[in-house]
């Protein structure tokens, strides 16, 4: 039975956008943890760790996100011998995916700090960990914020693919609304507008932070 596309549908879409944001937040936290590990591996003085970090990044970035979603969705039950919900599969897959990108971004930020800063730390008798903690990271964080906010936009957009494993977020809700109302153009314009409303402010913020950083230097 086909019903009209009405204000209530926009309301439902907005409600579903919460799950888009929730998945983004989870993926950002999970991806952040992976990312820190990867970034540290890639700047570590120990070659095998650097190579392992690079391999992780290359493999994750060389496979489409859809591939990861399905591999985790069907692979986790095999590994754990239990059915996993689309929540678990999506969170794991997105964290895994975001970790590679955040790791690369943060590695770049760590490496943007001049070598002499490391050497100065070493000259003061600090170990690798201490140099990182007291000298490098405090400076790198300032550089890292604009691209990290920029990646958050990518992440919000990418959560739309969670729809394919049945995760009900904004895009999936759009598909469901379309199935009920058969107003694809209106529905997807509304969906796109909600994504835009979430992403555009972040894009602008990232840009402004970057400009401020450039002026400060």
């Amino acid at each position: 039975m086909i019903r009209e596309f009405a204000a209530i549908d926009v309301y439902y879409l907005l409600l579903a956008a919460r799950w888009t944001l929730a998945l983004t937040a989870l993926a950002f936290v999970g991806g952040g943890l992976f990312g820190i590990v990867v970034a540290l591996m890639r700047v570590s003085p120990f070659m095998p760790l650097r190579a392992l970090g690079a391999a992780y990044v290359n493999v994750v970035q060389g496979i489409p996100l859809l591939g990861w979603l399905f591999v985790f969705f069907f692979g986790l039950p095999i590994l754990a011998s239990v059915q996993v919900s689309s929540w678990v599969a999506a969170t794991v897959a997105f964290s895994f995916y975001a970790g590679a990108f955040l790791g690369e971004i943060w590695r770049g930020c760590l490496q943007a700090i001049p070598r002499q800063q490391w050497e100065a730390g070493a000259a003061l008798g600090l170990g690798f960990g201490e140099q990182l903690r007291h000298v490098i990271v405090p400076q790198a964080v300032r550089v890292a914020i604009p691209p990290t906010v920029g990646f958050l936009v990518q992440l919000i957009k990418n959560t739309s693919l969670g729809a394919v494993i049945g995760f009900v977020e904004l895009t999936r809700e759009g598909q469901l609304t379309n199935a009920a109302t058969y107003r694809p153009f209106t529905v997807y314009i509304a969906v796109a507008a909600i994504y835009f409303a979430m992403c555009f402010p972040l894009t602008q913020l990232s840009r402004r932070l970057e400009r401020r950083l450039r002026v400060a230097r």
């Binding site: 489409p64 591939g67 895009t171 997807y188």
Partner: protein, 220 residues
């Protein structure tokens, strides 16, 4: 873990997988070309065009870059028919992917054009070069050098992103995977194999672009 992996059913579908790979590659090449054309025109409009055109292109870039590809694809494939424009899955995919890549490459190419200092152009004119010569020797080649790394990694990203067209059943590699999944019920195996194929394609593209970079810019 007492799952028994079975890849035999998947090897039996090699020809079908190959067809999918060809469709994915074709989509990628068409998208790269159209994205490059849109990007070049867009960047030219942004940098040299009249105010209204520049604003319109800026709006296009922002709208595309702040909405997901899959929604853009759904709008073209499911949305346009209500405006009387009915497209098959492949055409809709090419259009959506081209529009998407066009926005990203507009930004990349614009950055390249803006990276050439105005004083360089003036210096070229002072040396008696014609407008075309200045464009060719002073603007174009250095700009391509600036653009190349970002653009080539964007091309790899769009190749991976073509997998999204499986959601409107364009017969690309990922769609082939879902058909094989429903035929064999070997869901993990098929997606693992197909992911490996994408990885190989991505690495091959990266190597190819690196080789071209080396040939074109290496000796300078």
């Amino acid at each position: 873990m007492n799952y028994r992996f079975n890849f035999r059913d998947i090897w039996a579908q090699t020809d079908f997988i190959l067809e999918g790979i060809l469709v994915t590659l074709a989509l990628t090449v068409v998208t790269m070309l159209s994205g490059l054309v849109i990007g070049t025109l867009g960047a030219a409009a942004r940098v040299h065009g009249p105010r209204w055109l520049s604003t319109m292109v800026a709006a296009y870039v922002e709208v595309i870059r702040n909405t997901p590809l899959i929604v853009q694809l759904f709008l073209v494939f499911f949305g346009l028919p209500s405006a009387g424009i009915r497209l098959d899955a492949m055409t809709a995919s090419m259009i959506a992917l081209g529009i998407n890549l066009g926005a990203y490459s507009t930004e990349i190419i614009r950055a390249g054009l803006e990276a050439i200092p105005r004083t360089q152009v003036e210096a070229g004119r002072c040396l008696g070069l014609s407008g075309v010569q200045v464009f060719r020797h002073v603007v174009l080649f250095p700009a391509i050098k600036v653009i190349y790394p970002a653009l080539s990694s964007q091309f790899v990203l769009i190749m991976l992103a073509t997998s999204v067209v499986s959601q409107i059943s364009a017969p690309d590699l990922f769609h082939v995977a879902s058909i094989i999944q429903s035929r064999t019920f070997r869901d993990f195996e098929i997606y693992a194999v197909v992911s490996g194929i994408y990885l190989a394609l991505a690495l091959a593209m990266k190597l190819g672009f690196a080789a071209i970079h080396h040939l074109a810019f290496g000796r300078r």
